[in-house]
Symmetry: C2
Subunit: 206 residues, 2 copies
């Protein structure tokens, strides 16, 4: 196996690698569309990177590139055994970091003290609408593929997306209704009132 120049593989790298592994040889534009209606829903990747990243990965020996000569300039990338190995290694290795939720609305909520109170109400209304829309979208997808995740393993991720969307929706509805206590109560109903496990990680100062 030829030695691979060490490159930093970012999440973007793995998305490219993964998409090509799942779909077979692809052009950047293929990737753009594939990402756009799958992982793109919860993690946005700007399209320009889907052009530059495969180049990097080709240099690193994880992809090979075939340029079309006639007509529209177009490059088709395929995954190499090294690429597949790198992808599998990443999947198998323990995850390094906790998730991030990048939600401007959440920031606005946090800083709501400086605005005026009914900003929060408006914000909540907006978020409710937004998340309802998302849920309808996701539910539609589930419906079109059948509810059984065995049919399409990629749909498992959709289920996670739905769970999070519903949770967020519940939160904003409770906030709009001024009933956060009810939210907590319903949560306990599902999970039991006790904190799960509780390693004694001490929360730090706030």
């Amino acid at each position: 196996m030829p030695s691979v120049p060490d490159v930093r593989l970012s999440p973007t790298s793995y998305v490219v690698l993964g998409m090509i592994a799942l779909r077979g040889p692809s052009t950047p534009y293929d990737l753009k569309r594939a990402v756009g209606h799958s992982v793109g829903y919860f993690w946005h990747f700007p399209h320009a990177q889907l052009y530059s990243e495969p180049e990097r990965l080709t240099d690193a020996g994880l992809l090979t590139c075939e340029s079309e000569t006639s007509g529209r300039r177009r490059k088709t990338y395929s995954i190499t055994p090294e690429g597949r190995a790198a992808l599998e290694a990443w999947i198998a290795e323990p995850s390094d970091s906790h998730f991030q939720i990048r939600d401007p609305a959440e920031l606005k909520l946090f800083f709501n003290e400086v605005g005026n109170p009914d900003d929060v109400t408006r914000l909540a209304g907006q978020q409710i609408a937004r998340h309802e829309e998302r849920i309808a979208l996701y539910e539609g997808m589930v419906e079109r593929f059948g509810p059984d995740p065995a049919d399409n393993p990629r749909l498992i991720t959709l289920e996670l997306g739905l769970e999070v969307e519903y949770a967020t929706l519940r939160f904003w509805r409770a906030l709009a209704a001024g009933d956060l206590a009810g939210l907590r109560k319903r949560r306990d109903l599902l999970d039991g009132p006790d904190v799960p496990d509780g390693t004694d990680t001490r929360p730090d100062q706030a």
Copy 2:
């Protein structure tokens, strides 16, 4: 009111503005710590930006800067009326974008087909532990401040964080147990089995 050179205000900008609005005059290091045990939990901001961003904002007239002369070089930033106005305007204005969940684990799950099946099991186990830890941390914070969000409006955001953490935890537990159907069932129990509202946004191709 002096005219303000137009600058792009990013979420980072508003975090800086917001933190200074809430806390009063602060040094970048103050901001770093304040962010670190609040918004930093769900949206990571690299510390270097908390030094450079206030500079930008000062140029834009949204902050003022006072340098300490003696001892350690240190700059204390305060918010100007223009800064506060910009912040309030942002809070009031409708949110532009949907949240993003940047979770490497979610990506790994999506690409699980290419790895081997028990990678998923290991992943689930890891995530369960990770989220339980987080929940314990957050619950600890809630406890220290009392459960009544009226006591501290900043804690409302914590409640959202908890809701999302619990949802995610439920998902990974269900996945580990091989019972995603049960997950869906419990969700219906909370929200009713019907898709909320459903604007007829058609899901696109998959």
